[in-house]
C-alpha cells in the first residue's frame, strides 16, 4: 500500500508540474528574468504548494506516526554551513543556465526530448560525483 502511495504522490506531483507550467524551462527562466521580461508564475506555484503543505505538515506531525509506516522519516538537519550556501549557489547557477530543477527535469522525460534527457543524465552524474567525493574525503 505504501508503494502505491509513493507512485501516486509522484504522479500527482508530475501533474501539478504540468498544470502549473513549471515543466517548461521557459516559464522558470521567465521567473528568473526579474530585471527583464518577468513571469511571476513560479511564485504562485510556491504559494499554492505552501498553502496546502505548510498547515498540513504542522497538523500531521503531531500524530504519533504516519498512516502506513511506523515512524516519520524526514530531515531535521539544522546546520547552516558552507556546504548549504555553496551548494545553493551552484544549484542556482545551474537552474539559471538550464531553466530546469530536478522535479521538472525528471517529469519532462515523459516528452522524450533531447533537452531533458541530456540534462537528467548530467544531473545524475552530479549526484554520483558528490557521493564519490564525500566517501573519499570521509575515508581520510
Amino acid at each position: 500500500m505504501n508503494k502505491l502511495i509513493s507512485l501516486l504522490s509522484g504522479i500527482i506531483f508530475g501533474i501539478g508540474l504540468v498544470i502549473s507550467g513549471m515543466i517548461n524551462p521557459q516559464k522558470v527562466l521567465g521567473f528568473l528574468d526579474l530585471f527583464g521580461n518577468w513571469d511571476p508564475s513560479l511564485a504562485f506555484v510556491m504559494i499554492g504548494a505552501l498553502i496546502v503543505s505548510l498547515p498540513m505538515f504542522h497538523i500531521i506531525r503531531k500524530k504519533e506516526k504516519p498512516l502506513l509506516e511506523e515512524k516519520f522519516d524526514y530531515s531535521n538537519n539544522k546546520n547552516i554551513d558552507q556546504r548549504l550556501v555553496l551548494g545553493s549557489i551552484l544549484f542556482g547557477a545551474g537552474w539559471g543556465l538550464g531553466g530546469l530543477c530536478p522535479g521538472p527535469a525528471i517529469s519532462s522525460l515523459a516528452l522524450f526530448n533531447f533537452y531533458s534527457m541530456t540534462f537528467v543524465i548530467s544531473m545524475f552524474a552530479g549526484f554520483y560525483f558528490v557521493k564519490l567525493f564525500d566517501s573519499i574525503t570521509q575515508a581520510r
Binding site: 509513493s6 507512485l7 504522490s9 504522479i11 506531483f13 508530475g14 501533474i15 501539478g16 508540474l17 504540468v18 502549473s20 524551462p25 527562466l29 521567465g30 528574468d33 526579474l34 527583464g36 521580461n37 518577468w38 513571469d39 511571476p40 508564475s41 513560479l42 511564485a43 510556491m46 499554492g48 504548494a49 496546502v52 498540513m56 505538515f57 504516519p66 509506516e69 516519520f72 524526514y74 530531515s75 539544522k78 547552516i80 548549504l84 550556501v85 551548494g87 545553493s88 551552484l90 544549484f91 542556482g92 547557477a93 545551474g94 539559471g96 530546469l100 530543477c101 530536478p102 522535479g103 527535469a105 515523459a110 516528452l111 533537452y115 552524474a125 552530479g126 549526484f127 554520483y128 560525483f129
Partner: protein, 139 residues
C-alpha cells in the same frame, strides 16, 4: 521590469496539486518530498530504493496521464547548446546534493517546517538564479 506570460490561475492550481502530493506522501508514508533527495538516494542508497523508483516513475507518468486525459500537447520550447545543458545538469546535481535540497525539498518541504536552513537555501538559489539569467542575457 515588464511582466509577461503571467499565468496566475494555472500556476496556483498546479501549486495546490503539488502541495497535495506533499501532503499525502507525508500523511501516509511519513516522508517529505524533495525531488533531488529522492532521485539521488535512488542511485546512491539501497534503503527504500523501490519506493524512490516508484515515486520517480510517477513523476514521469503524471505528464503522460495529463496528455491522455486532457488530450493536450505539452509544449516545451527552448534551445540551449549541448555543452550548456551538460554544465547546467552537473551544477544542479552537485549543488542540490551539497546543499541537501532543491526547489521542492528546501523551497516547499523545508519552508513548510519553518527550517531556517531551507529558507536560506531558497533565498540563495533564487538570487543566484536571477543573477545567472541577468548575466546570460547580457552576454
Amino acid at each position: 521590469m515588464n511582466i509577461v506570460n503571467f499565468t496566475p490561475i494555472s500556476a496556483l492550481i498546479g501549486g495546490l496539486i503539488i502541495g497535495f502530493a506533499v501532503l499525502i506522501f507525508f500523511l501516509f508514508n511519513g516522508r517529505l518530498i524533495g525531488i533531488s533527495g529522492i532521485a539521488s538516494n535512488f542511485i546512491n542508497r539501497e534503503e527504500k530504493r523501490f519506493d524512490n523508483f516508484l515515486f520517480l516513475s510517477g513523476l514521469i507518468i503524471g505528464p503522460i496521464i495529463y496528455k491522455l486525459f486532457f488530450n493536450k500537447e505539452i509544449d516545451i520550447n527552448i534551445s540551449n547548446s549541448f555543452i550548456l545543458l551538460i554544465v547546467a545538469g552537473l551544477l544542479v546535481g552537485f549543488g542540490t546534493r551539497i546543499s541537501g535540497g532543491c526547489t521542492s525539498g528546501h523551497g516547499i518541504s523545508g519552508i513548510s517546517r519553518f527550517s531556517l536552513r531551507s529558507i536560506i537555501a531558497t533565498i540563495t538559489f533564487m538570487i543566484i538564479g536571477v543573477i545567472t539569467v541577468l548575466i546570460k542575457n547580457y552576454l
